[in-house]
Each structure stands twice: as C-alpha cells, then as structure tokens.
C-alpha cells in the first residue's frame, strides 16, 4: 500500500513546473492574453521536446506510454502556471479515445502524429455533458452534421474528436469543420463552437460499446480538468500565503491577523485533501476500474467547489491588489471558473454520480 507519487512522477511534475516557471511566466501569459493567443508556440514546442503531447500514447506509437495519474500531474503543473497550451483535449481525451475505440489503421494514422505534437486535436463532447445551444450531432456512417459548443483545444487544431448524440465517436479533419472561437473569461484556454455540415468523418467504431468508451474518456477529461484546478488553486493559495507574510497594515504583517491567517488555513484545509482525491481518481482510471467513473465525477465536482472557494478567498487576502490586473491573480481565478463549467458542471456530474451509484 503506497498512496504517494513515486520518484519518476515527482520528477516528471517538477520538470514540467520548471519548464513553465522558466518559459511561461505571468508576463508571457499576459502577452498571450492581450493577443488572444491560447497556444503559445514556444511553450508548446518546449513541452513537445519533453514528450508531453504523447504522455498517454503507447511507445509503439512514439508516445511515452504513461498513465492518467501522470497526465493529471502535468495538468496540475499547467494549471499552476495558467499555461496557454492545449492539453486536456488534444493530449488526454483524444488519444485515449483513439486508443480505446480506434482500429489499428486509425491508431497508426493518428497516434504518432499526436504524440509528436505534429497535429493538435480539438475535442467536443457537449451532447453528453448537458451543454446548451448545441444542434445535436447526428451521424450517418461517415457523415456528421450539427454543432457542438465548448469544444476544447480548438486553436490551430488539425483534427477534431466529436461525440455524436448517439454516443458514436468521430474524427473529423479541420478542413471539414467550421470553427468559431468562443471568448470566455479565461483568456488562457481555447474553446470554440464547431459546425459540421455533412462533414466526412472517420468513425472510431472498432469497439462494440462506444458509449462506454465515451463515458470513460469523459471521466479522464474530468480528472484532468480537476487536476488543472488543483494546480491553479494551489498557486493562488501560495500567492496568498506569500502576500499575507509580506504585506503590512496596522504595523503588522497581515498574516498575523487571525482573520487573514484563518482564511489561509481554511483554504489549505479545503484544498489539501483535494490532491489525494485527484490522485485517487486518476489512479482509479489506471488501475481500479470499478471506482473510476464515480471518483472522476467527484474529483470534478469537488474541485469545482473548493477551487471557487480558494479563488475567492485568495483574492480577498490580497485585498484591493487581488482585484486589479497588476498581480495577474485573476488569470488563475478565471481558469478555475472556466474549469468549473467544462466537461460537465458540478451539478451535472453530481447527478451523474447518483446514477453511477444506482441512486436514481
């Protein structure tokens, strides 16, 4: 029994964190945001050098062959630096779906190119997570029509994974998709609306139960979104603690006031168990299938609640400065708020958790 990260995992996460501290500073994020850039080419190139896009892709396809827990650790680092790069869709949900439901030919075609970072794959699963304003995706064989809201990792995407309303999983090349960017509060992430009009698709039909596959990859997505929130919230807490230890008012460091100290303590007390929840949910995907779907729902929902709490309290600890653009704290705040609603809102996934347990 060893509920802990091993050395390789710690090293992996630290490597990504170091890279991001070095190359994806707040100034970089600020510039990207000002330019409406959600994919920073040089940061993404550096991540490609580390093999990050291939984290979950088998070595036989040129990937690293790691597991969802590793991907969650990477996502935590990305959230911690509000990094402006694709990951959750293109490097988690899409390769997992192809791996699980693709034919050998489909795998041969797409996985090596995803692993190498040569292509980016946007992901749209809106019809299965209670999204609004969709025109449900219909599919007839290898033709797909409809529209999908809040597809992720759409900027510069060459390929799109789209879940049809009937649960089928389709790959559609960019040339057959109209992509309308959606602008959210979070300027570090790429989301958009996809419009398909009799688009030619490559149906990932090698499995008999596409809906189970879909549920599984959505679960993986949820865990990784939760990990992203964990990282973002941890950064906000760290910044709040640091600020509380420096800022003086009434001739005292404000962290010596119980009101401020207790806000920090409450944040830490809420957030720290979330780390274990994310680890467990990711590990369950990898090794404890009977717990995977339920814990993915809970990781997503609970991190949404705790993330919002931390985002708000960390801002309050910073006083007026937290409310300005000067410290850039709001990039984390907004990433947490976007994560809250992605891949199923907390209300939606809790309801799904009730179904998973047969309560309804």
């Amino acid at each position: 029994m060893d509920f802990a990260l091993n050395e390789e995992q710690q090293f992996l996460q630290q490597t990504v964190k170091d890279l991001l501290n070095d190359q994806c500073s707040l100034e970089v994020v600020r510039t990207d945001a000002a330019e409406n850039q959600t994919k920073n080419a040089s940061v993404y190139d550096a991540l490609i050098q580390l093999g990050i896009p291939g984290t979950l892709i088998g070595e036989n396809y040129g990937g690293v062959g790691l597991r969802l827990l590793d991907a969650a650790l990477i996502a935590e680092a990305l959230g911690g630096s509000v990094a402006t790069v694709p990951f959750i869709g293109s490097s988690v949900v899409a390769p997992l779906a192809i791996e699980l439901a693709g034919s050998d030919e489909q795998k041969d075609t797409w996985l090596p190119r995803l692993a190498s970072g040569e292509i980016i794959c946007g992901v749209a699963v809106g019809d299965h997570i209670g999204a609004r304003d969709n025109k449900p995706i219909s599919s007839t064989g290898a033709i797909v029509s409809g529209s999908a809201m809040f597809a992720i990792d759409v900027q510069d995407a060459d390929l799109f994974l789209v879940a049809a309303a009937n649960g089928e999983l389709h790959l559609v090349e960019a040339s057959d998709v109209e992509v309308k960017r959606l602008y959210t509060i979070d300027k570090t992430r790429s989301v958009g609306e996809l419009l398909f009009e009799n688009a030619r698709s490559d149906n990932l039909a090698s499995t008999s139960d596409q809906e189970a596959t879909l549920a599984k990859v959505i679960g993986a997505g949820r865990v990784v979104v939760a990990a992203d929130t964990l990282g973002a919230a941890q950064t906000m807490l760290d910044k709040a603690v640091a600020y509380a230890g420096e800022r003086q008012q009434f001739k005292r460091v404000i962290g010596s006031f119980q009101a401020v100290k207790h806000m920090c303590a409450e944040m830490a007390a809420e957030l720290e168990p979330c780390r274990s929840l994310v680890w467990y949910a990711a590990h369950a995907f990898d090794a404890i299938p009977e717990d995977a779907r339920l814990t993915a729902c809970h990781a997503k929902a609970h991190l949404a609640e705790v993330g919002r709490f931390v985002a708000r309290k960390a801002t309050e600890v910073h006083g007026g400065m937290g409310f300005t653009d000067l410290l850039g704290l709001h990039y984390w705040f907004k990433r947490i708020e976007l994560n809250r609603q992605l891949m199923g809102t907390p209300e939606f996934v809790r309801n799904e958790a009730a179904k998973v347990q047969g309560w309804i």
Binding site: R132, E337, Q341
Partner: protein, 405 residues
C-alpha cells in the same frame, strides 16, 4: 407597522410620476453616458447639466442642499429620497445628483463660507466633478497610515506621493485628497484634507485595470504638486476626522436592497427562460432550491433595508441593521451572480462579446465587481471588526503601538 405611504408621500410620488412622464424626453439617456474628457466640456451647459437644473428646480435633485448654494433647500426626508430613487429607476430615467455625495456634505458641514460658495454651487450644477484621493498602495485597510506628503512652501502645500483606487480621476475636475502634513504627529493626527483642480501641474493619472478587464479605477501620482494653503477643508492635522464625514456618506450607498431584489428577479427569469435538454433550468431541483435559499436571504435584506429607512426617517440611529448592510449585501449580490453563472453552465463563462453570450456577460462582470466591492470600501474582515466592536461592543485588538507612520 404600516407599509402604506401617507397621502403626503403618495402625492409626492404622483407628482414625480407626472413630472417624469412629462419631462422624460429631456433626460440625457437612461444610463449616464461615460463623461467626456475634462477638456471637452468647458462650454455652455450640456444636456446633463440642463437636466440636473430642471430636477433641482422641482426638488428631485440636490434636495437638501441649501438654496444659497444652488440646491432645493428642503428638509432631509429619507422616504422622499427613497421614492425618488424608486421612481427614477422604474422609469429608467437618469437621476440627478447632489454635487458629490461625499464632498458636498463635508464642505457644507466643515468648510468656510468662502469654500462653500466656491465649491458647492458648481458641483451641484454638475460643472465641477470630483474624484477621491484616499487609498494608497501601502495603506488599504489601515487608511490612516497613508504617506503622501504635503509640505508647506510659502503659500502652498507641495504634494508628493501616490493615490490608488481613484475612480473617475481621468474625468473629474477636482480631487478631495488626504495628505500627511504633520509627519511627526500620531498617525491619525497628522493628516489634512485638501481640495484642488485635477489640472494642477504635477498630477499624473494612470488607468488601473481590474480583473474585469476594465479600468474602473486609476492611480494618481503627485510630483511637487502645488496647492494653495487655503484649499484645506478643516484645520491642519484634522483631515482624518473631516474624512470620516465623507466615509460615513459613502458607506450608506452600498448594498441597496432593491438592487438585490431586481437582480433576484433577473435570475428567476433566467432560470425560467434558459433550457437544458429541453427543460427549463427552473425544473432542476438543485438549482431551484439554491435560488430559493437566495430568495430567503434577499427578502430578509430587503425588509432590513425598509427597517433602516424607517429609522432614518425618524432620525433614529438604525444601529445593527445598518452596520451589517455592506457585509451582507455585497455577499448576497456575489452569491446571486455565482448562481446565475452556474445556472448558465458553460455559457456562463462567455465574455468579451462572444457569440452565444447571455446578457452581455453581465453575470461574470457582476461576480467579479461584487468581489471587488466585498474587498473595497472596508474589506469584509474590517466590516466584521466594526460590527463586533461598534455594534456588539466587543473590545478592539490590543494595540501593538501607535506612533507616527
């Protein structure tokens, strides 16, 4: 307990409605347009100023400002103020003002006759607009530790330092400002309250962008800014006490219960009109129960507001019901915005005039602005100190020391 309005007030309301119906077309737009830059508005009365003048003549603006200083000269009557606010809001007509609800009462109470004649009439006419120079980067909750200095040089104060959170600094004609004039006095006794033109040489205004993405505030920098010595309100070193007059007026404005009720009805409509999988969100019991909990809080705050209004009308100190308004009101608004965002789900995150956006992203903007209001004008923590100490009589924290900053 009588929630009917007496005939005096009913008549007042009827007259106001009639006035609005008749003159509404003269109003310069329902919502105040962003003022033009200072330099552009020096000519003859603009439509906003003419509208203000009309309102003063009828007693719907500057009601309690004495006639000799350009006001209507009525006795204070919170209920009439309430009716005016309600009817203008209902008619979606731009209300008038009383010059500046922080500066003008302060000058009337503590200024010299000369200062009153200089500052109040143009302020009331809308020809002289104001911004507030209180907060500094190093002094937020501990405002009295401010360090912007004003040293005497001949007939002038010479100001050096920096202010922050100055809303409207880029448009205002004038600033009222706290500066440290006696650096060796205990911190509350070394402050003076100055007024001066924003055109004074040595003032630089830089916009301060907030998390909403907009520059609602500014930073203001002073470099050897010279202000004549007679532009002080009150005595040297008494600025802290002069300023508390101003703060008192500002605090009352926050957390209006009608605003919360209006927001609530907007969310109610949102839950009825937005659908998920073909069903209105209102049919989702988790969202509905949350809405109902907010409704309970909102109603409690609305009636609490009526209680405060009644007390003010009777010239009674409302006490606890008033002390809690800022803390509870801002929190309620923030929670309501969060509820609206969550009910919208992913759509609730849209911003920046995105396709599919609902209500122009208003709920996100409010969610952030309300957090700013929870922090600004006395953080929630400072509010709780005040409630604990002033309303409940609990002792202050033991002081560490209290020497000049």
């Amino acid at each position: 307990m009588d929630l009917e309005y007496s005939s005096e007030y009913q008549t007042f309301r009827d007259d106001l409605r009639e006035f609005l119906a008749e003159h509404k077309h003269l109003s310069p737009g329902a919502v105040a347009p962003r003022p033009a830059g200072r330099e552009e508005k020096k000519d003859e009365p603009n439509p906003a100023q003419r509208w203000q003048q009309l309102l003063i003549e009828h007693g719907y603006a500057a009601r309690t400002i004495p006639r000799e200083y350009g006001g209507f000269g009525a006795e204070p009557d919170p209920l009439k103020n309430h009716i005016i606010a309600e009817e203008f809001a209902k008619a979606r007509v731009r209300p008038g003002h009383s010059g500046d609800n922080r500066l003008v009462p302060t000058v009337l109470e503590l200024g010299t006759e000369e200062q009153k004649r200089w500052l109040v009439p143009p302020s009331v006419r809308g020809e002289m607009t104001w911004c507030q120079g209180y907060s500094e980067p190093g002094s937020g909750s501990d405002l009295a530790s401010l360090s912007t200095r004003a040293e005497v040089d001949g007939d002038d104060f010479v100001i050096n330092g920096q202010k922050i959170w100055t809303s409207g600094a880029q448009y205002a004609d004038m600033m009222f400002c706290l500066v440290r004039t006696e650096p060796d006095a205990p911190k509350h006794q070394g402050i003076s309250y100055l007024v001066f033109s924003m055109d004074t040489p040595g003032i630089e205004v830089r916009p301060l962008v907030t998390m909403t993405g907009e520059a609602t505030f500014n930073e203001v920098f002073f470099t050897d800014t010279r202000v004549p010595k007679n532009q002080i309100i009150g005595k040297r070193g008494e600025g802290w006490f002069v300023a508390n007059n101003t703060l008192k007026h500002e605090r009352q404005g926050l957390g209006d219960p009608h605003q919360a009720e209006n927001r609530f009805h907007e969310i109610e409509a949102l839950l009825q009109n937005e659908n998920v999988d073909g069903e209105p969100i209102m049919s989702n019991p988790a969202h509905r129960d949350r809405l109902l909990q907010l409704q309970g809080r909102m109603l409690a705050m609305k009636y609490n507001g009526m209680r405060v209004l009644t007390a003010q009308r009777k010239h009674e100190e409302p006490g606890l019901p008033r002390w809690i308004i800022k803390l509870q009101g801002c929190e309620l608004n923030h929670q309501m915005a969060a509820m609206a965002i969550d009910a919208l789900g992913e759509l609730g995150t849209l911003y920046h005039r995105s396709d599919h956006i609902r209500a122009g992203g208003m709920w996100q903007q409010r969610f952030m602005m309300d957090l700013g209001l929870i922090i600004g004008g006395g953080t929630a923590q400072i509010q709780k100190n005040m409630i604990g100490e002033r309303a409940l009589g609990l002792p202050k924290e033991p002081k560490i020391e209290d020497k000049p900053a």
